[in-house]
Every structure is written in C-alpha cells, then in structure tokens.
C-alpha cells in the first residue's frame, strides 16, 4: 500500500469540516422542500448547490465540485426561473 498522504488535512479537522458541511447540506435540503414561495425556493436551491459543492470539495473531489457549482448554482436556477416566468405569464 502506498505511503500515508501528507497532502490531506489532519484527520480531526477533515472530520469536523465534513460533519459541519453535511449538517448544512441536510438543512439546505429541508429548506428547499419547505419553502413554498416559488422564486424564493429557486434562490434557496442555488444556495443549496453552493453548499453541495463545498461538501464535495471537503470529500476531495474537485471535478465534481466544478460541475455542481456551475450546474447547481447557475444553470438549474436559470432553467427553473424561465419556466416559472412562462407559467406565471399564462396565469395572468
């Protein structure tokens, strides 16, 4: 087996970071589901995407962080807001 990595944070710090981010992600998921106003929910989803990318970074996965950052914080909220604009227009 290869030598122990000197390029990762010390175990206690990495654990604390992972636990904090996991709790934030769980809270973010609850917030996304329970917020009922549409546009506000889309913004909460954008923040949730950011929290997820931080969690992926703490899990030593920079590639997934890059994807989730762009997709979850920009592209998905843009698609959702465009749909809401279209649907709300018909409701007028």
């Amino acid at each position: 087996m290869a030598q122990a990595s000197a390029f990762a944070p010390p175990a206690g710090l990495a654990d604390a970071l992972a636990v904090t981010l996991l709790l934030l992600v769980a809270a973010g998921a609850t917030a996304v589901v329970l917020v009922r106003a549409r546009v506000r929910q889309v913004l909460v989803l954008s923040v949730y995407g950011l929290l997820l990318s931080l969690l992926f970074l703490a899990f030593q996965a920079p590639d997934v962080t890059l994807s989730e950052l762009t997709v979850g914080s920009v592209l998905l909220p843009a698609l959702l807001l465009l749909t809401l604009a279209k649907v709300r227009k018909r409701e007028e």
């Binding site: 590639d63 592209l75 465009l82």
Partner: protein, 253 residues
C-alpha cells in the same frame, strides 16, 4: 385520496425504507474506510499507462469510456426531446419580443449588470475552453468546461436582450456543433475499430510528459468533443425555454 391519507401512506413507506436502509448500512465498512481494490489499482496504474495525471478524467474517457458515451447520449436525447416537446401547438405563433414585453413593466437592465456581464463573458468562455481542453492534467474535463461556456451564454442573455442571444446562437449552428461533439466521440471509438482494435481504444500517441496538454492520446480529444456537445446541448435547452416566453396562443395575448 385525501392529502392527509397520502401523507400517512408516505410515512409508513418511508419508515420501511429507513429500516431496510439502516439494516443495509450495517454491512458497509464505514465512512472513510474505502476497502475496495479497484480504486487503488486505477490510481496506481493510470499515470504510467495513459500519461494522464487527472485520474478521474482518465476513468471517464478511457477506462470507462463506454459508459460516458451512454451518458453523453442521454444529454443529447434530452435536448432533442425538449425541442420535440416544446414544438408549436396548433394555433400558437411567436410574437415579436417588444410587443410581448409591452404589458410587463419591467425596469430596463441596469448598467451595473450589463457591465459586469460584459466584463465576465470573455473570461468565462476562456476558462471553459481551458477546462475542456485540459482534462488529463488537472480537475477539468469536457463536462465542466461545457457547462461553464454555456453559463457564459446565459450571462450574455442577462446582459443584453434575448435577440442578441438568439443572433449569436442560431439554432442550426448550435445543433450542428452538438452533432459534431456527439459524433466526434463515437467517431473516435469507431476509428479504433477501423484499425482492428477494440472500440474506444486509446490509439493516439501518448506523449512523453504526464499531464501535458498533448499527452494521453484520445482522452484529450474525446474531452474536447464532449465539451462541444455539452455546451451546445445546454445552449439549445436554454434557447428553447427562452423562446417559450415569446409564444402566444392564437387570438389571446
């Protein structure tokens, strides 16, 4: 079924799911104790075998390249499916954007938004292009680069008007770019078959320096094609949704 009854059925089902899930967790080695040999083997041999230092991209485009072809075609099919689903229904026609917006009293785009968007569009496209072409070296790759460039186009729509976005991304050019991306990936695999090697074998020269841009053979090429395809697919998707806001039902407005 009343909402309360629906909620009760869901809670019963969720309780059952949680019990089975926690029972299944008892057999796992625990968080942080990944045991499996596959990941360790891939980490050990990738740099020597493919001259790529970005192991995740090497896994995506070389060791598990066939799965990535499938995923890319899910993306392709989703974009095509959107175009089909959002076709004009009978009696709908597209209104001119100005008369559509006349009944909405939106403030004009502020100068700050326009300037920030203008400043950032160039660097975003550059960063996306860099990401799509450096798959083998660092945390980058076709998928990430593609979505970043698509974000640049969304920024273009935010800074200007829909007409500018539409003029810069004509539907046939975007569709052609998407086809080139998807076909290029499959074509690279088929080129290997034409040389009587298995599909998607890495047949290009591997280069001398691990992690250089010109190293790792087909991984860099395939990543570039994937970047093209992802960009075009997301631009098509956003363009479809933007076009929807202009459609009018016949007669009503």
């Amino acid at each position: 079924m009343t909402p309360a009854a629906r909620r009760l059925v869901f809670l019963v089902g969720a309780a059952g799911l949680a019990v089975f899930y926690l029972f299944g967790l008892s057999g796992l080695p625990g968080f942080g104790r990944y045991p499996g040999p596959y990941g360790f083997i891939v980490n050990r041999v990738t740099v020597a075998q493919t001259n790529a230092t970005g192991v995740v991209s090497a896994v995506n485009f070389e060791y598990r390249g066939f799965d990535t072809v499938g995923e890319e075609f899910i993306l392709f099919a989703a974009a095509a499916g959107m175009a089909v689903v959002l076709r004009h229904l009978r009696g709908e026609h597209e209104g001119a954007p100005l008369e559509e917006a006349a009944d909405r009293d939106l403030p004009p785009t502020s100068d700050a938004v326009r300037m920030v968007a203008l400043l950032f569009t160039g660097p975003i496209v550059l960063i996306g292009w860099w990401l799509a072409s450096h798959a083998q070296a660092s945390p980058s790759g076709g998928f990430q680069g593609g979505v970043v460039i698509a974000t640049g186009f969304v920024l273009l729509y935010l800074s200007g008007e829909f007409q500018v976005f539409r003029r810069l991304t004509p539907a046939d050019v975007t569709a052609a770019v998407e086809a080139v991306g998807a076909g290029g990936f499959v074509g690279t695999g088929l080129a290997a078959v034409a040389m009587s090697l298995p599909y998607l074998t890495n047949f290009l020269p591997l280069g001398t320096v691990p992690g250089a841009v010109s190293s790792s053979g087909t991984i860099a090429l395939v990543s570039f094609f994937v970047g093209l395809e992802v960009t075009a697919a997301f631009i098509l998707v956003i363009g479809e949704l933007l076009r929807q806001t202009l459609l009018l039902r016949g007669g009503k407005s």
